[in-house]
């Protein structure tokens, strides 16, 4: 499957008088596994929000493949092949796990806003959802309201919902935040597996995850890119070391 890339050109974002993103130019190639790291307050999540259409940019350009997406609403961006997860788990907490996954499949399976199609008769859709459920190892939690799942289970569900629609660009915002070591290992294996062949853009604080998973790392400090390249290059960059002061000594 030929994937899509994301390119940012001199993207700026101000909230009132404060400029949070101060001219970011970045090119994420199709199929790349790209991690964005940086100290707190650098603007990583803001950058995600800009790319995914949650906030409008103040100036610059964001492209998904060849299409400009910085003026589009989130659902339009999603339909063009970009999907994201959230830093604070964002699922349909009152619906069952199965329903959560099924809802993530609806649009990509062509159901649109139909109010005449009975869902229980949709064999292919339901089978797909069931398959996804088992792939995420949540089979035993099928009929549990998503809000009652454990934290790690919810994060897994969220990842599942993010990739369900078949998006070719996946944005993951701190997917392993708050996880224990075992849970992190498990999540990493899951992420590696489900984003096979897709473009992955990830914000992470856990350096082990970053260096294991990413083939390109971008370092964001105070809304600007101070380094971008393969892990070894970034690791040995002076500017990065200064910004982090030893955090990269893994």
């Amino acid at each position: 499957m030929s994937g899509l890339g994301v390119s940012l050109h001199d993207v700026r974002k101000s909230f009132g008088a404060t400029e949070i993103i101060r001219g970011v130019t970045l090119n994420i190639r199709p199929g790349e596994r790209h991690a964005i790291i940086g100290p707190n307050g650098a603007g990583k999540t803001t950058l995600f929000n800009l790319i995914s259409g949650r906030f409008p940019i103040t100036s610059g350009e964001i492209k998904l493949g060849d299409t400009r997406i910085d003026q589009l609403p989130p659902h339009q961006i999603n339909r063009r092949g970009l999907s994201r997860s959230f830093q604070i788990t964002s699922i349909f907490h009152r619906m069952t796990v199965f329903e959560n996954l099924r809802c993530s499949l609806l649009w990509s399976q062509g159901y649109r806003y139909s109010f005449w199609t009975p869902l229980w008769l949709q064999r292919q859709l339901n089978d797909r959802a069931q398959f996804l459920l088992e792939d995420l190892n949540l089979g035993s939690r099928r009929d549990t309201p998503a809000g009652l799942l454990s934290y790690a289970e919810q994060r897994a569900l969220e990842i599942g919902m993010t990739i369900a629609g078949g998006a070719s660009v996946i944005l993951l915002d701190e997917p392993t935040a708050g996880m224990s070591n075992t849970e992190t290992d498990y999540a990493m294996a899951l992420i590696r597996r489900v984003t096979e062949g897709k473009t992955l853009l990830m914000v992470e604080h856990d350096m082990k995850v970053v260096f294991d998973l990413a083939d390109t790392i971008t370092v964001l400090v105070y809304g600007q890119v101070i380094a971008s390249g393969p892990p070894e290059e970034v690791r040995s960059s002076k500017a990065v070391q200064e910004a982090y002061l030893g955090a990269l000594e893994e």
């Binding site: 609806l106 109010f115 229980w120 629609g165």
Partner: protein, 437 residues
């Protein structure tokens, strides 16, 4: 308590299979009910019961359609009665037109009301769904007040203060019925209510219905699975208006008159009340609420002028202690029943119900006494209890009422603590069992 209720408000397959028996049973009950009050010696139906049952049917449709917005889409609307009323007004005019020759049989008349409700909801829904949360609610408040005020003002179509009237004996029917008698109209209502409820339930099992729930739970996540939440809300709003219009249509056929009351904020508030008290998280909740409120309205208002106080207190109690409504309370017992522990609650319930009854009676007594002291006296009425007149000026009734209130209240407080403990014990046992299996 909320955790078990959440688990019970589960996905359609499990819950639907458990309650599938309810549908034909309820239909049978609805059909048979008037006959339980049939006066066999005089050979006619109880007018009061048929009227109340007819009202219940309309209100079930109205409350369920309101819950399409509130419970299922997370939309708080204050103008739902507008679509009910428009359905009513258009129906009256249609009846007039049929009287003059338009060939529409009575059984299909509610479709016209539905169409009117739908059209109005499309127009206003387009405006209202442009905004979210509070702004949405306030727009609907404005729309509701606007329409109610307009209905009072304009004589053409709305008939001004007097409203519009018609005659339902239009002599056009698919089954050859005249609809002159209340019982015939009742069965028309039963048919349409059943159809409407079925359709509204079906709607919850479609992509739109499910995504409406999803949008309610998480607006942003819905966007990121590819849906425009605004379109979802707009469609739900319009369809809810369709069903409200059907309800209004049945109202028009039953009462043969529609006034601005049918669009008023008070009626919209009624929908809110019925849905909330019945329970907005379960599909059938509003049905329970509609039945309860209509029965209270018809029954209690005959016995007491202060019935609005009781509604207010019931409402406040529900909001504070049982926000998931009656349906929520029922579903909370689901896991308990399935674990076979329902019997353990029998005695605790009795211990809670007795002081509870005492408290309620004391409160009602006090309210009635006060009401008769001030208002009733001015109107020259006397308080009659079990056939004998009570002297409201003597100390006895007052001390009894206050005594019951205070004792009932204190005792209930005491008992509810131990009830809570029993409940918690049962819930943790169930959880432990689940963990082991």
């Amino acid at each position: 308590m909320s955790q078990t209720t959440m688990a019970s408000a589960s996905s359609a397959p499990a819950a639907a299979r458990r309650t599938a028996w309810a549908w034909p049973v309820l239909l049978a009950v609805a059909i048979a009910l008037p006959w339980c009050f049939y006066d066999f010696t005089a050979g006619r139906h109880s007018g009061f019961m048929v009227s109340m049952l007819s009202q219940t049917g309309m209100m079930i449709i109205f409350a369920l359609s309101y819950n399409m917005l509130m419970g299922q889409s997370g939309l708080l609307s204050f103008c739902h009665a507008v679509f009910f009323g428009m359905g009513g007004y258009v129906t009256i005019h249609t009846l007039e037109a049929v009287g003059k020759g338009m060939p529409i049989p009575m059984e299909l008349i509610p479709l016209c009301g539905g169409a009117a409700g739908l059209a109005t909801a499309i127009v206003y829904g387009y405006m209202a769904t442009k905004q979210r949360a509070t702004a949405f609610a306030m727009i609907t408040l404005g729309i509701g007040e606007l329409m109610a005020t307009a209905a009072l003002m304009f004589h053409h179509f709305f008939g001004g203060e007097g409203g519009v009237t018609s005659n339902r004996m239009i002599e056009r029917s698919l089954f050859g019925l005249e609809y002159g008698q209340g019982i015939e109209v009742y069965y028309l209502i039963v048919g349409w209510t059943f159809l409407a409820v079925l359709l509204m339930y079906f709607l919850t099992q479609t992509p739109l219905g499910r995504m409406a729930n999803a949008t309610r739970d998480n607006y942003e996540r819905a966007q990121f699975v590819g849906y425009d939440p605004r379109v979802i809300r707009f469609l739900q709003f319009s369809l809810a208006g369709l069903f409200a219009g059907i309800g209004g249509s049945l109202y028009a056929v039953t009462y043969e008159i529609v006034t601005f009351d049918a669009l008023s904020g008070a009626l919209s508030a009624n929908a809110l009340l019925m849905a909330y008290i019945g329970g907005i998280t379960a599909f059938g909740g509003p049905i329970l609420g509609a039945v309860l409120i209509t029965v209270l309205q018809s029954g209690v208002s005959l016995l007491s002028n202060s019935w609005l106080v009781y509604v207010g207190v019931l409402f406040i109690t529900m909001v504070t202690f049982a926000p998931e409504g009656i349906a929520g309370i029922i579903t909370a017992h689901g896991p308990v029943k399935r674990a076979g522990m329902l019997g353990r609650l029998a005695v605790p319930y009795v211990r809670v119900i007795v002081p509870g009854l005492l408290l309620v009676l004391g409160f009602v007594g006090l309210v009635e006494l006060l009401s008769f002291l001030t208002i009733g006296a001015a109107q020259g009425k006397k308080l009659v209890l079990f056939g004998s007149v009570l002297n409201i000026n003597s100390a006895m009734p007052w001390t009894v009422a206050i005594g019951m209130l205070v004792i009932g209240g204190g005792w209930l407080r005491f008992e509810s603590v131990s009830f809570g403990r029993v409940w918690d014990d049962i819930t943790s046992e169930i959880k432990a069992r689940e963990k082991r299996s």
